[in-house]
Each structure stands twice: as structure tokens, then as C-alpha cells.
């Protein structure tokens, strides 16, 4: 399949569909829910909804359908965290075995070592953004930098971090 080809549901079997989109759904969940367990629940919830829609012949473009389902599901999860846990348990019984490709996690100690290897300014900006959830304007005011400078420092720091933990930016 080429990069942005529209994926028709008849072109893939269910396991292949799950494996293709599980990581993308997890990434979406991490970006919007900021919680690994909630992102895992999102993967299951969305895949179940997509599989049911595919079986019912309601899906023309799988990628768009998955994205749309993610958007609604995340909004729903943000509104009703507790209810979502029950839904997640029910979803586990529906999905095919080995539906998910492996998701190699970053080694936590290695990541912290890499974080400590950044200079103080880079480290503080990365932590402020992703641990303290501060935006570039707020960080800029605190550090007496422009928001643009904060973004440049953050981008460089993440490139270094990604290389340090073993991936290329």
C-alpha cells in the first residue's frame, strides 16, 4: 500500500486491520489522554467499534473511520472515565487474539539518564512541557524566552532524547 492510499475494508482481514491501526490509535490516545492505561482502553474500544462497522458494511475509508471514532471516543472518555473502564473489560472479549502488534516501551532508566544528559535549560523545558503540562507561552514567560525559542529548544531536546534512547528523529 502506498503512503496515503484510501484503504477499503475489503482489502484487509480483521487481524491485519487491527495490527495496522492499533499503534496509531494508541499514539492518538497518548497525545490526547496523557495516560497509558486510558490509551490502551482506547485501542480496544476503537478497534471493536471499527470491526463492527466494517462487518455491517458501514465503512468506506478505514483510516478516516478510525480517526473519527478515536475523536469521539476520546471526548467520551474525557467525560466519563469510570464508565470507560467497564467498556474496556467488555471489549477485551470481542477482539481477535494477537490483534495488537508489539509496542516496545522506552526503557525508563535509560530515558531518565538521557533526560539528565540534556543541558539544564533543555531538560527543564521538556519537563515543563510534558510533566507539568505548561504551554510554550507560559514557559517562555517563566524563562524570559519567546514562545518560538521555547519550541526550538524543545524540538532540539527531543531530537537528542530520541537519538539517545535509540531512535532517530
Amino acid at each position: 500500500m502506498t503512503s496515503t492510499q484510501v484503504l477499503e475494508p475489503s482489502a484487509v482481514d480483521e487481524r491485519e486491520l487491527c495490527q495496522m491501526f492499533a499503534g496509531r490509535i494508541r499514539g492518538y490516545g497518548l497525545r490526547h489522554l496523557r495516560d497509558a492505561a486510558a490509551a490502551e482502553d482506547l485501542v480496544q474500544h476503537v478497534l471493536v467499534a471499527v470491526l463492527q462497522a466494517v462487518r455491517a458494511g458501514k465503512v468506506e475509508n478505514v483510516a478516516s473511520y478510525v480517526f473519527g471514532t478515536c475523536r469521539f471516543a476520546v471526548r467520551d472518555m474525557q467525560r466519563a472515565e469510570a464508565r470507560q473502564r467497564k467498556i474496556a473489560e467488555a471489549n477485551r472479549a470481542v477482539l481477535p487474539e494477537d490483534y495488537e502488534p508489539p509496542w516496545p516501551q522506552v526503557d525508563r532508566v535509560r530515558l531518565e539518564m538521557c533526560l539528565l544528559g540534556l543541558d539544564a535549560r533543555e531538560r527543564s523545558i521538556v519537563i515543563a512541557t510534558f510533566a507539568y503540562d505548561r504551554d510554550a507561552d507560559e514557559i517562555g514567560r517563566a524563562f524570559d524566552l519567546s514562545a518560538g525559542n521555547v519550541r526550538v529548544i524543545r524540538h532540539r531536546a527531543l531530537t537528542k532524547l530520541q537519538t539517545c534512547v535509540g531512535g532517530a528523529a
Partner: protein
């Protein structure tokens, strides 16, 4: 939509700073190449979300308790020399570093031994309580070199544009 999506855009997406975030998100579901690129960043920043920052706010400290983590807490005053024993069942050892922070506009923390020195700028602090909460964890043992002196924590405040040290705390870390 630029394809491949630039790394800077993916970082901005993670930081929730994009006006057209939905358009980028939709593209990431449809494009294999960009999906693979963002997956690397997702792993890195997903890992960051799991990390407990070295300095936590009181709200973050409460959240750790809500998550069911086992915390031990100890208060240190400026000039104190103390000991922290990391029992195996402990997840996080919170050092409550007391200092006069009433007029602080900004607080920095420095952690140092003879061989290493780490500085954290703009850390969370509670001015009313006069406290900075350091979250020390079991795996920090990996950072401690044999035969090194005990780490020293130094708290600095910025007031009216000047920086000054308001507390130094020497804490021996003991792992069973």
C-alpha cells in the same frame, strides 16, 4: 498538509499547540510513513508521561497517592543532614525541602555529588508552605556511584531578578 509531517509539527501536536491538529491527526491515520515517524515520538513521550518528575507539585504528589503508589515522606530543613532508607516496597520517597519561599518568583533545584551535578529550573513550589517536593525513586540507585559522598540538594530562589541559595540539604541514600 505537508507530507512527510515535519518533526517540529509532530512535537507541536504532542504539546497541543497546533490550530489544525485534527487535520494532522487524520493524516497520521492514513499515511504509513508519517504514522511510523510519529510512533517513535509516541514511544518517547509516552515514556515521558510514565516518568515521575524529579520535583513534583503538591497536586502531583496527591495524584501519586491516588494511583496507589507507596510513598514515604520526610521533611528536611535548611542545613539538615539526613538519611533516606529505600525499603523495597517503597515506590517514591518524597523529600519535603523546607525553605523561606514566601517572596520567591522562581525556584531552581540543584542536585550534586562530586562527580555529577544536575540542575532543574523553574520547579514547582509551595510559597505558603515553604516547600519543594523532591520525588526520589528506587531506580535512582543506578545514578549513585560507589564511594561517592552523599548527594546535596540546593534550593535557589529568584527575587527581583537576583538568585540566592535558601537551603542546602545533605541526604544519604540507603538502598538495602
Amino acid at each position: 498538509m505537508t507530507c512527510p509531517v515535519p518533526f517540529e509539527t509532530l512535537v507541536a501536536l504532542w504539546a497541543r499547540e497546533l490550530d489544525d491538529g485534527d487535520a494532522v491527526e487524520e493524516h497520521l491515520f492514513a499515511c504509513e510513513r508519517c504514522a511510523a515517524t510519529v510512533a517513535q515520538l509516541d514511544r518517547l513521550l509516552g515514556g515521558m508521561l510514565e516518568l515521575i518528575p524529579p520535583v513534583v507539585s503538591h497536586a502531583q504528589r496527591d495524584h501519586l497517592v491516588q494511583r496507589g503508589l507507596t510513598l514515604q515522606e520526610q521533611t528536611f530543613r535548611p542545613g539538615d543532614r539526613g538519611e533516606a532508607f529505600f525499603a523495597p516496597e517503597l515506590d517514591v520517597y518524597v523529600f519535603r525541602l523546607r525553605a523561606d519561599l514566601a517572596t520567591a518568583q522562581r525556584v531552581d533545584l540543584e542536585i550534586g555529588t562530586t562527580s555529577i551535578r544536575f540542575e532543574f529550573e523553574h520547579v514547582p513550589f509551595d510559597a505558603a508552605r515553604g516547600e519543594v517536593l523532591v520525588a526520589c525513586q528506587q531506580h535512582f540507585k543506578a545514578f549513585q556511584q560507589p564511594n561517592e559522598p552523599d548527594p546535596v540538594f540546593r534550593v535557589y530562589v529568584y527575587e527581583a531578578g537576583t538568585r540566592r541559595e535558601v537551603g542546602s540539604y545533605t541526604i544519604k541514600h540507603v538502598w538495602p
